[in-house]
């Protein structure tokens, strides 16, 4: 009886703990939405408080976004464009490399794989200055080529695709060869479709990375019309007070699509993000 009571109490407290934690976690998002409904003058004067004053709150900030002349949707479009192109290219090249490393045995294979692991450990930030000089020399500064090209092969994705490709049925490979398929044809027509789940997970990971990417685009992109959302938002920040009316409603519109997509494709998000170290 006593033991039963004990487990009941711990059950309740553990669940309460998680409920509380979830509320705390979701609180900043609630704040974001709340702030987007308040006039920026009030935010500047009083900061964000929890007062739900219906007389002051309105959708004016959103209306302001949609009225012509705001650069916000330009940034949104840029972010979206970059996301699509960079995700598609990165997935294609990374899957190719990962597949090559998994399926064939050839000289230098182990060295290449170690290099993949090594790159995963060395952050880009260390060499961003020469990399920036290079983009200047190649005349790809302030262009999306400059943002995408240096990272077109993502080591994390190569690693993941390699792990996945190790489990592909080798018998298919042989029978396709007998049928006269080229090696690349085998990859494109037979193996790629088999790697669909890996593509799902990596697509989400890369797309999220691109959507939230900050430092490198901040360095490469120079003109306002080329900015992506995070860079655009950051350009509106200043130590002395911010252009809140565009910033906050814009932030809400940038976050909500991802959360909706997440709720639909949770499995892919989670396997993509936790894939790195755990056997695929």
């Amino acid at each position: 009886m006593n033991k039963k009571q004990n487990t009941a109490i711990s059950k309740v407290s553990v669940n309460m703990l998680f409920i509380l934690l979830c509320l705390v976690t979701l609180f900043p998002l609630f704040c974001l939405v709340l702030a987007s409904l308040k006039p920026s003058t009030e935010l500047l004067r009083f900061g964000l408080n929890m007062k739900l004053d219906v007389h002051v709150m309105s959708f004016k900030n959103y209306a302001y976004l949609f009225q012509g002349g705001s650069i916000y949707f330009e940034w949104f479009k840029n972010s979206l464009l970059l996301l699509v192109i960079s995700t598609a290219l990165t997935l294609f090249f990374s899957s190719m490399v990962g597949y090559g490393l998994a399926v064939y045995s050839f000289k230098g294979k182990n060295v290449l794989f170690l290099l993949v692991l090594f790159i995963m450990m060395v952050p880009l930030e260390i060499m961003m200055l020469p990399l920036f000089k290079m983009t200047v020399a190649l005349k790809i500064v302030d262009s999306y080529t400059g943002v995408i090209l240096p990272f077109i092969v993502a080591p994390v994705a190569v690693f993941f695709f390699r792990q996945y490709a190790l489990g592909l049925p080798k018998a298919l490979l042989e029978s396709a060869r007998v049928d006269g398929c080229t090696e690349f044809g085998i990859f494109l027509r037979i193996m790629m479709p088999l790697m669909k789940p890996a593509f799902g997970a990596m697509a989400i990971l890369q797309a999220m990375g691109s959507w939230n990417n900050f430092l490198w685009p901040l360095i490469v992109l120079r003109s306002k019309e080329m900015f992506t959302l995070p860079i655009g938002f950051a350009s509106l920040l200043s130590p002395y007070g911010n252009n809140y009316d565009l910033l906050i409603s814009g932030a809400v519109l940038a976050v909500i699509p991802i959360i909706i997509i997440f709720l639909f494709f949770q499995k892919y998000f989670i396997s993509g993000l936790t894939s790195g170290g755990i056997k695929g």
Partner: protein, 314 residues
């Protein structure tokens, strides 16, 4: 893996003779692997190896538009200044605190979530995962609002209600660090928890059943079965957290951009950015980069060594 030399080989050979040189290439099993890995080799050489070597070279140079001069160790000597030490200290502190928060707490939460005690597992998992979907910039904007300086801003009004004094959160060292660590913890707690959850799935139930038969307590099971079994995951999370901590930039940029009062938000990467791109002092920036690289390599080798993961072959 082994390439299977099956009896299809002779057929392939005789066919291959008929084909042109190009299609011979397409079918060749000797050439194909190199075609597949070529994108990696090229991008590694051009966008990794070359810039890495350049960083090293640059750290011994004074780089001015149109001319570079070799200055020996001058840039490294210049690192002996207060700003650099502030940046280094901030980065180490930030990394330390994120490790303190983002390893034990997600681990315990994962164990609790995995236990039979918790209901609504998927809802909890999703809710805790959502923060990482927001960019650091957007999350930082919200944190700036919550931690605003006015006494009417949320956090301060909360402090006042508790009978405490309001803070100028982003103006002093301790509170600035606190808000940065909080921002990172908010975003990554759920993800780290998922790593540990994934690790927990790999522990065989038999171990726990055997322990139950031996009459082990919940705590004994946690310390003698769960923790040791989670070691590989813990090492992984530890390593990526260390690297993540040392490369921190955004969490500080969103609060102060390039200049924080008294450099309370200056990190090593922020210092590279400031020197290299804002002051056009690329040589010094590169030297900071090399120091950062050394730190990251040493710290991750130590953490891998201490955890004994060099012994296990992966």
């Amino acid at each position: 893996m082994k390439v299977v030399h099956s009896n299809t080989q002779p057929v392939m050979l005789s066919e291959e003779k008929k084909r042109s040189w190009l299609s011979g290439l397409l079918y060749s099993r000797k050439v194909a692997p190199y075609v597949f890995v070529a994108p990696f080799i090229i991008s590694f050489l051009v966008f990794f190896a070359y810039p890495l070597v350049q960083t090293f070279v640059m750290s011994f140079q004074e780089v001015l538009p149109g001319e570079t001069t070799f200055v020996g160790l001058e840039n490294y000597r210049k690192l002996n200044n207060q700003t650099f030490y502030t940046a280094l200290l901030n980065t180490v502190q930030y990394t330390f605190w994120t490790l303190v928060v983002l390893i034990p707490i997600p681990l315990v939460l994962a164990v609790l979530l995995n236990s039979r005690m918790t209901r609504f597992k998927n809802i909890f998992k999703s809710a805790l995962f959502i923060p990482v979907l927001t960019s650091t910039i957007i999350a930082g904007i919200v944190f700036r609002l919550i931690f605003g300086d006015m006494s009417s801003a949320f956090m301060n009004s909360f402090l006042i209600k508790l009978g405490l004094k309001p803070e100028l959160w982003l103006s002093s060292e301790g509170t600035g660090m606190f808000v940065m660590v909080l921002l990172a913890s908010w975003r990554w707690l759920g993800v780290n928890m998922l790593y540990f959850l994934a690790g927990l799935q790999n522990i065989s139930n038999d171990l726990y059943e055997a322990a139950d038969i031996d009459g082990a307590s919940t705590f004994q099971k946690f310390f003698h079965i769960t923790l040791p079994s989670l070691k590989p995951v813990t090492v992984y999370v530890l390593t990526i957290s260390i690297v993540g901590g040392f490369r921190m930039f955004e969490e500080s940029y969103v609060f102060w951009q390039n200049y924080s009062p008294g450099d309370i938000g200056l990190t090593l990467v922020g210092y590279i950015y400031q020197q290299g791109l804002a002051y056009n002092n690329m040589g010094l920036g590169a030297a900071i980069g090399i120091v950062l690289l050394m730190i990251i390599l040493i710290v991750s080798v130590i953490s891998l060594k201490l955890s004994g993961s060099f012994k296990e072959e992966h």
